[in-house]
Amino acid sequence: MANNTLKNAFMAAVLTAVIMMPVFGLQLIRQGVQTHLEPRWDIVGGAAAVVFVFQLIRPWLAAPLKRLKSHMPVLPSAPTKGRKWLILLIIAAAVIWPFFSGRSSVDIATLVLIYVMLGLGLNIVVGFAGLLDLGFVGFYAVGAYTYALLYHWAGWGFWEALPFSGAVSALFGFVLGFPVLRLRGDYLAIVTLGFGEIIRLLLINLNFFTGGPDGISGIPKPTVFGYEMTRRASEEGTQTFHQLMGWTFDNQHMVNYLYLMALVLALVTLFVSTRLIRMPVGRAWEALREDEIACRSLGLNPTRIKLSAFTLGAMFAGFGGAFFAARQGMVNPESFTFIESALILAIVVLGGMGSQIGVILAAILLTVLPEIAREFAEYRMLMFGLVMVLMMMWRPQGLLPMKRPQVELSK
């Protein structure tokens, strides 16, 4: 037994050393125009030692970790009495919060809310309907570019373009869904993955239309009932928001405003998806996830039901994309790589498939943690992978597993 542990630990340490060597062990040092290769054996040795020790003591760690597993929280099933007030309180706090905090944290919060929106959108497709979609970022890109292009070619503002962004993304979801949704499981995942990449490559290569790799910049931020939130009005003779209110101009206003808009959009997404899952269509999604053949035998049209999930998910991605374009002020294909799809999917899986609160929590975690740990930015993907592996080992059902909204029948 003890012998085995020792052997395991030794093997793990050797493997670590082998993996570490090219990554950390050989550092490139640049001095002027010259580049030196400097071996750093101390790092490799240290890492191997750490792994060795960890593997040695792992058997002793297993017991407390197991206990931890059984003590993780699960959402209470039935809505408790005070829940409505609690939700209102949280929303109120979220509304007031930006006025008492700094610019950068509000900015991060806005980003979190975009991911909440995307996570909830993908949750409809993956969590509710059980369709593994690896190209979700494609719809996000479509939404962002719809606004960017409408502004660039037709001079549309954010609020006019927002419904169109959602609609165009939904249309893309619908058109793609038609041929693709007869595929199942892995095949569907591969095809959607390809779709996401096609969208990105199209955006890069349709130079004349989308601006190619440079994208489109100078996209205006949302206006407040037609008043711009800039230092000076872009057109002569119009008032800006701060002039209207008689304030002095402050950048923070714009940041807060964007945050509040993101909050509204995220809340709308939350509300709609919460209602959807309690509606017949939501029940049909879940039933389809459970057993497609039984669904068909009962007269439910599987293609139609899957399409509705795919289209609605895409629509929310479109809204998120339009907002993203407005916040950044520019879009380029770089923002819509596969890693983004993976991140959104990770949010859904980490939160617990189908669990809305879980998805929100995961979105906060996966966006805020990397921002806090800026010094470790290089290790971000490493940490990310580690968290994923650990989650799947100890809590595969996610942070807060879904407790389906049950329709209760009184006895």
Binding site: M279, P280, D291, S297, L298, Q406
Partner: protein, 255 residues
């Protein structure tokens, strides 16, 4: 004689070189219990799958109430009033018992998006009705107390009953049961026989069933089709079938 509800003629199904069903024909009349029996591998379930739209038959015709349904996808077949259960129960296991019955009513309820999102009156009414119907069926099947439980956690006999309830709530005209007695104990089998009888009398539904349990078959069937190696041997009343030499030969082998 009552009218013909389902008419199958010359049904043939070929899987590559295997002729699974060879020109099978039968008729099911309104409120009749019609059984298909035969040794294992006789092609009974294949007939079921063809009628239910899960396979596209290689040849032959299936007519439901005067309308051809040959080769239609299964969800469209269901719209014609043909609903089936499965050999190994196919419930939505992680949904509650009640939700299983609600899903089955999908085509009857207000399932458009806007009325639901806005909680319009028509939507609330349709949901209340659906809940009401589900409750009635749960009472009928004696499953009321399990309403809020996950369907996968029910006892096997209860799962079978729930599957039949899930079919019945779609208001079918022909209920197709694929080995409904498999895995049931003697008491549950007697209950099943009683249930099928009751469904036919109270809801006027015709029943097409596959079964191995001979006492059940002989007890409730009006007519029986016997199959062997994909071919029909004979069709007749339980009395006729029991005394048919070819049937005895098929089951017991030649002397």
């Amino acid at each position: 004689m009552s009218e013909t509800l389902l008419k199958v003629s010359g049904l043939t199904m070929r899987f590559g070189g295997l002729l699974a069903v060879d020109s099978v024909g039968f008729e099911v009349k309104q409120d009749e219990v019609f059984a298909i029996i035969g040794p294992n591998g006789a092609g009974k379930t294949t007939v079921f799958n063809c009628v239910g739209g899960f396979y596209k038959p290689t040849g032959g015709e299936i007519v439901m109430d005067g309308k051809p349904i040959t080769g239609l996808p299964s969800h469209k077949v269901a719209h014609h009033g043909l609903v089936r259960t499965f050999q190994n129960v196919r419930l939505f296991k992680q949904l509650t018992v009640l939700e299983n019955l609600l899903v089955a009513q999908h085509t009857q309820v207000e399932s458009r998006l806007l009325p639901g999102l806005l909680k319009l009156k028509s939507y609330r009414q349709s949901e209340a009705d659906a809940l009401q119907r589900a409750a009635q069926w749960l009472d009928f099947m004696g499953l009321r107390e399990y309403a809020n439980r996950e369907a996968g956690n029910l006892a096997y006999g209860h799962q079978r009953r729930l599957e039949i309830a899930r079919c019945m709530i779609t208001k079918p005209r022909l209920l197709m049961l694929d080995e409904p007695a498999a895995g049931l104990n003697p008491q549950e089998k007697r209950d099943l026989q009683h249930l099928i009888d009751q469904l036919r009398r109270e809801f006027g539904v015709a029943v097409l069933l596959i079964e191995h349990d001979m006492s059940l078959i002989m007890g409730i069937s009006d007519r029986i089709l016997v199959m062997e190696h994909g071919k029909p041997i004979t069709t007749g009343t339980p009395e006729q079938v029991r005394n048919d030499e070819r049937v005895i030969k098929a089951y017991l082998g030649e002397e």
